[in-house]
Structures are given as structure tokens and as C-alpha cells.
């Protein structure tokens, strides 16, 4: 693998790392397998791309993506907590609806962002050489997101959120509504995923309505790789693990491509990767 491959993997790992942190909230903290992320990643990209073509400041477009993702998460939350639709189905329904909504937002299936002002083109103006400028920007964003998330999960509300996924009966006994907590978790999770979608679109130079396919699996892969390699003894450690997991995941994809695997085989590879990592603890136990 040459250097440019490594840099690309690192950049992708960081940009998608925000998405992995979102999946970490729903999947690990809330214990809610939320498939809406396959729709909220392109939602963030769509919102951001549409605003960029209208000449809006790219950083504002990130905030708009964040908000849009939060609304999508609230819809999944509403379907699950108020209409009592099962988590998987609630996520699928939101994801499916978002496909149409994303097309509406973009007006067409693909918006190229070449020549548009993006967060990357702005940072390039500061005069730092590539790839440092891109890397510094991405690292800065993910550090801010990670530390805000760590801090939030150590507040009183954060404790309640964590306990909701761990033992809902206990949290009800503590006088806290599990429904509100689920809602909050899903809003946060999908907001981060959409933010990531906006970052990815600006990074790759286009937004595509199909770019969300397999997001949940990639997110799970990152979360699980992180847990296996870094651990999950505390929230601080676990979120580092998620980001490292995301980077390692993109590296393994690059390696697979370098070894001559067709790009169309990547989804299969990802699924296999997740299966292997998920089953490792059991296989280890069986071998003992």
C-alpha cells in the first residue's frame, strides 16, 4: 500500500468516524439497532450539497445537516416510542422515507461539488500543505465531537441515557421516562450521522442519493473493531475505540481493494468482517 492510499483511508476513517460515533450511541448506549442511519447519512450530504450550491458557508451547512439528522432521528423515535413500532422496522421506515426526501432535497440523484466552496477548500486557503490541512481539519472536528459526546455522557442526563439502554426497568424506577431518553439518544445519534454525511460529501466532492447504502454495517464494524482492539472499560476509552475502529475499517477496505477485490464486492467483505468480529468472543469461548 502506498502513502496516498494510507492518507485516503485515514481521511475517510475520520470523516466516517463521526458517523460511527452516532451508531455507537444508538447501538451500544441505547441498545437500539437503528437502521435509519442508512438514510440520515445521505440526508446530511443532501442538505449540505444543496446549501453549498446555493453559496452558503460550508460550516453552516454542517450545522444544517446536524439539525436535519436530528429531526430524522426524532421521527424514528416517535415511530418507536409513541406508535410502538419495533426498533428495526421504525428505522427501516425512516430510512425508506428518507430516500424520497433526499431526492426531493437534492432535486436530482447526484450533486457534484467540484469548484464549490467546501470546508476543505476553505482550509486550503490557510496555506498549510496537503494532506496536513485536510487531516488537521478532520481531526479537529472529530476531537470536538468526541469530547462533547464524552462530556455529555457524563452529565446527569448522560447517565440516564446510558442506563436506559442498560436496564430500562431501573431507569423507570428512578422516575425517568425511557421514551424521552430513547428519543434523545436517537436524535443525537442521527444528528452525528448526518453531520458525517455532510463531511463525506464535501470530502469526496459530490452528494449521491445512494451513498448511504451499508452505513449501518460500516458503523457497526467500526464500533465492534474498536471494542475488540481498544476496549470499552469507560466511555472515554470506548469512543476512542470507535474512532480507531472507523480508521482501521477504512484501512482494511483499502487493503482489500489494493489486493484486487472489485469495489462491488466491498459490501460482502464488510458484512463478513462484522460477522467475524461479532462471533470472535463466542468462538474463543467454544475453543477454550
Amino acid at each position: 500500500m502506498n502513502l496516498s492510499f494510507a492518507i485516503t483511508s485515514l481521511e475517510q476513517g475520520l470523516a466516517f468516524g463521526v458517523m460511527a460515533l452516532g451508531v455507537f450511541i444508538s447501538f451500544r448506549i441505547l441498545d437500539f439497532a437503528d437502521l435509519s442511519v442508512d438514510g440520515t447519512l445521505p440526508l446530511g450530504a443532501a442538505v449540505s450539497a444543496r446549501l453549498l450550491t446555493a453559496g452558503i458557508n460550508p460550516f453552516y451547512s454542517l450545522i444544517a445537516a446536524l439539525l436535519a439528522g436530528g429531526i430524522a432521528g426524532a421521527i424514528t423515535g416517535f415511530l418507536n416510542t409513541k406508535l410502538k413500532i419495533a426498533p428495526l422496522l421504525a428505522g427501516i421506515l425512516t430510512m425508506t422515507s428518507l430516500y424520497s426526501i433526499n431526492l426531493r432535497i437534492m432535486g436530482r440523484p447526484n450533486i457534484p461539488l467540484i469548484g464549490k466552496s467546501t470546508i476543505f477548500s476553505l482550509i486550503e486557503k490557510l496555506g498549510l500543505p496537503y494532506p496536513w490541512n485536510h487531516l488537521i481539519l478532520l481531526i479537529l472536528i472529530i476531537i470536538i465531537v468526541k469530547f462533547l459526546l464524552d462530556a455529555f455522557l457524563n452529565t446527569q442526563i448522560g447517565f440516564a441515557l446510558r442506563a436506559t439502554g442498560d436496564n430500562p426497568q431501573m431507569i423507570r424506577s428512578m422516575g425517568i421516562s425511557t421514551n424521552s431518553m430513547k428519543m434523545l439518544g436517537l436524535i443525537l445519534s442521527n444528528a452525528l450521522v448526518a453531520l458525517s454525511g455532510a463531511m463525506v460529501a464535501q470530502y469526496q466532492g459530490f452528494s449521491d442519493v445512494n451513498m448511504g447504502v451499508g452505513t449501518i454495517v460500516a458503523g457497526l464494524a467500526s464500533v465492534i473493531i474498536g471494542e475488540v482492539i481498544i476496549g470499552k472499560s469507560s466511555i472515554m476509552i470506548a469512543t476512542i475505540g470507535v474512532v480507531v475502529g472507523s480508521i482501521l475499517y477504512r484501512f482494511s477496505i483499502s487493503i482489500a481493494l489494493n489486493l484486487g477485490l472489485a469495489a462491488s464486492d466491498l459490501k460482502l467483505l464488510t458484512a463478513l468482517l462484522v460477522i467475524i468480529f461479532l462471533s470472535t468472543p463466542r468462538i474463543k469461548k467454544a475453543l477454550r
Binding site: 457524563n154 452529565t155 447517565f159 426497568q169
Partner: protein, 265 residues
Amino acid sequence: MLKLKDLEKIFYKNTPNENIALNKVNLNVKKGDFITIVGSNGAGKSTLLNSIAGVFPVESGTIILDKEDITGKSEYRCAQKIGRVFQNPLAGTSPEMTIEENLSLAISKSNNLSLKWGLSKHKRKVMKKHLAKIDLGLEERLTTKVKLLSGGQRQALTLLMATVANPRLLLLDEHTAALDPATAIKIKNLTAELVNENNITTLMITHNMEDAIKMGNRLIMMDAGQIIYDIKAEEKENLSIEKLLKMFEIKHGGKFNNDRMLLSV
């Protein structure tokens, strides 16, 4: 403190499996009462506690807690004034969180949740003081994840969490039944200690007749969804297991049928 009026709960209503779990139950609990509840299987003991805790809506009747009508309120709303400990020692704590994080939720129960830090120096100090009371050395293990504790330790912690915010009412549903005998005795002593210290109004279901007679100041016996005896003060002090069983047979017209209860007599 707690007033139940004509409380009625029917499971599987209008089906062949219809089961009247609570049949017009009336109960008047005074502040500071510690009531033990006994009864055969299916008498409605747990249904009574679950109804008060808002786990499910009742068919009719009213539940007044501390002058507030809580009938039909959802479980988490009722829980803001009620502490609960379940039979399952794993039910009352969050296993992946640490002892201090669990306790923190219990301590801030009386206030609204906010974005303040969940832990603070002051909070830790308060926690240590509380944990020292249960005498299991947990005050030295604040950052231990709760899943690493034994069932007895977890139940002790749950009991502390249920009482630390001074609830108006404490509901205990056979909370020592799943523990080994030595641990069960410890938890019972701790229960008496915590309840007396804060003068908490308490309803405790037990299958152990001896405990039912020894603990608390009032004993209620339930059968077929009704309270058949309500034994107070002096009368309770002169009670014996034999007397209690005989009283049951008179009303029920048959032997007491609670496997676990017979074993523990």
C-alpha cells in the same frame, strides 16, 4: 399517606381467561407505617404493588399518595415519589455503569435531570456516607462496575438507591427471596435500618411468615384479590405462624397454598 379506594384490576378482561386480580381493595396507610403483606399464590399481592407503582392501569378505583391522585399515571411518574426493590437482584441497577454512576442517578432522583456533571466531589462524599451504612465496603469501590458485584451486594445497593432520595412510599416485592439465607438476613436487617432511619412508609411482600410477623407494625393478608386480614400493633405482636395459618384457613376454607411459604414455616 396512601389511600386505596375500591381498587379493581382484571387481567384478560372479557376473555375465558378473565382473572380478577384485585377485587375492590380498600386500604388506608398512615405515614410511617411498615406493612408486611402475605398471601397464597395468586392472591394479588404483586398486582397490588404494581398497581400502586403505575406498572399497568387499573379497571376502577383510586390511588391517592400524599394527597395526590396518582391513578393511571405512568410508571416513571409514580416512581418519582415511590422507591421500589424487586425480587430479581439484577433488576434495580445498571450493570455496565459504576457504583457511583448508579447511585448518582438515585441521588438526583428528586431534582429534574440537567446537564450538570453526574458526579462531583460533594456527591462522592455523600455517596460514601450512604454506602458506609450498608457495611459491605462498597464505599471503597465507587468506580467498580455494578455487574461485578454479587446478587446480595446488588440488592443492598438497590435498596440504598430506593431509599436515598427519601421516597414517600417504599414498595418491596419479595426482595430477599432470590438471595441465599445469610445474605437475605443481612438485607432484611438493612431494610429495617434504612426504613426506620428515614421513617419511610413501606409495603413489603414476603413469603416468609416469620418475617411478616417480626418486621413492621402492621400485617395484611390477601386472598383472591382481597385483603382478608389487617392486623395492627398489639394484635400483631401477639401473632404466631400457627395462629396466622389458622386464621387463613377459616376465611379461605382450605389449606394455605404457597409452596415457598410452607417450606419457610
